[in-house]
Symmetry: C2
DNA sequence: GCATCACTGAAACACTCGTGTCAGTGGAGG
DNA sequence: CCTCCACTGACACGAGTGTTTCAGTGATGC
């Protein structure tokens, strides 16, 4: 269990990487920005890898909190998209994509399994939102995989172009129950 | 116009980054792996940034060659997906995703505009594949944006899970003309 | 009062990084 | 032959990296 100071610094570091990216973060600038020192970060998190792992877990916690908040049932896709498209969430989602890509390129290290884990998290939510009688059928699996692909692909487009209008219009047919 | 030696080394470096990733490549290991030296890479490409830019352009050339090859007309989505799902193309696509994410995190530098550029490239291909009477309508734009999202989201899933069967099944309804 | 413990500061270590300097190669053209 | 020019090797420079060592703090609990 983390100490008070540890969660405090983790929170500050999390805010830092949301705007600076996680890929090429380095201890000294990070420590300076959050009013700490490399010595303390190393003391609390053991190593840089430990810190990155903690930050990734922190980001995942945000994601899981969202999924719990969204709930299940009809209209999930619409609610998920509304959340994804909100400008306030863009830094988090950019960070998410960064970690996703990284975990594919470098399957070892702190990133390991991140991409696969989020696919499964989301598929699970979509699954519990399906009517019971299709949940365990091949059609059900195909349908939620398709919904996930649509959301993620739309997100990619949105993050690159910022054109929320066009992308939301493209999803419109899926957003009507 | 690049010299013979330059394109030769670029090709070798391209093969290297396809397996090692582009994000944290460094000159010395790269030079050693392709039988060159940092001195020569710097001489030919001016700087590391120049080299990265050349590599990014090289990857994009692969992508554009594909798009030209696929052609236009009915069945594009199916043909595009067949190409995306081919295991042989996975390194290229992982590299593509890496560059995509990077260009969002770090809008300056050699990566600039990569994400936006590929969105436009692909939308263009999908557009010329649409029947003329919808090409310039709002519906046409929404439809191809949707197709692109589906393809890209499916690709994300595939790269993370490797589960080509499930993802292809999810796309099935879109793959039938 | 004293020991314990979480935390912190300063400085150093052993790297790796991109890049610059200076000196050559070898072959092609005059 | 001699000159030019694309290319290459060896090495050093300054900056930045994660990590370690050593030496403290200040508060808490006995």
């Amino acid at each position: 269990m983390p100490s008070a100071r540890e969660t405090e610094l983790l929170e500050a570091a999390y805010r830092y990487v949301l705007t600076h990216g996680l890929a090429d973060v380095s201890l000294r600038p990070l420590a300076a920005a959050i009013g700490s020192s490399t010595r303390v970060l190393l003391y609390l998190f053991g190593s840089k890898e430990g810190l990155v792992k903690a930050l990734l877990a922190r980001a995942r916690a945000d994601e899981l909190a969202l999924l719990a908040d969204i709930g299940a049932g009809p209209g999930v896709v619409r609610r998920l998209w509304e959340w994804l498209a909100a400008p306030a969430h863009r830094p988090l989602l950019t960070l998410w994509l960064e970690a996703y890509a990284r975990s594919l390129v470098e399957p070892d290290g702190p990133w390991a399994g991140f991409a696969r884990a989020t696919v499964e998290d989301w598929l699970e939510v979509l699954k519990t939102s399906q009517p019971e009688d299709v949940r365990d059928t091949a059609d059900g699996l195909a349908l939620r995989t398709r919904e996930l692909a649509l959301l993620r692909g739309a997100l990619l487009d949105l993050l690159a172009t910022g054109d929320g209008e066009r992308v939301t219009a493209a999803l419109a047919t899926s957003l009507m129950p």
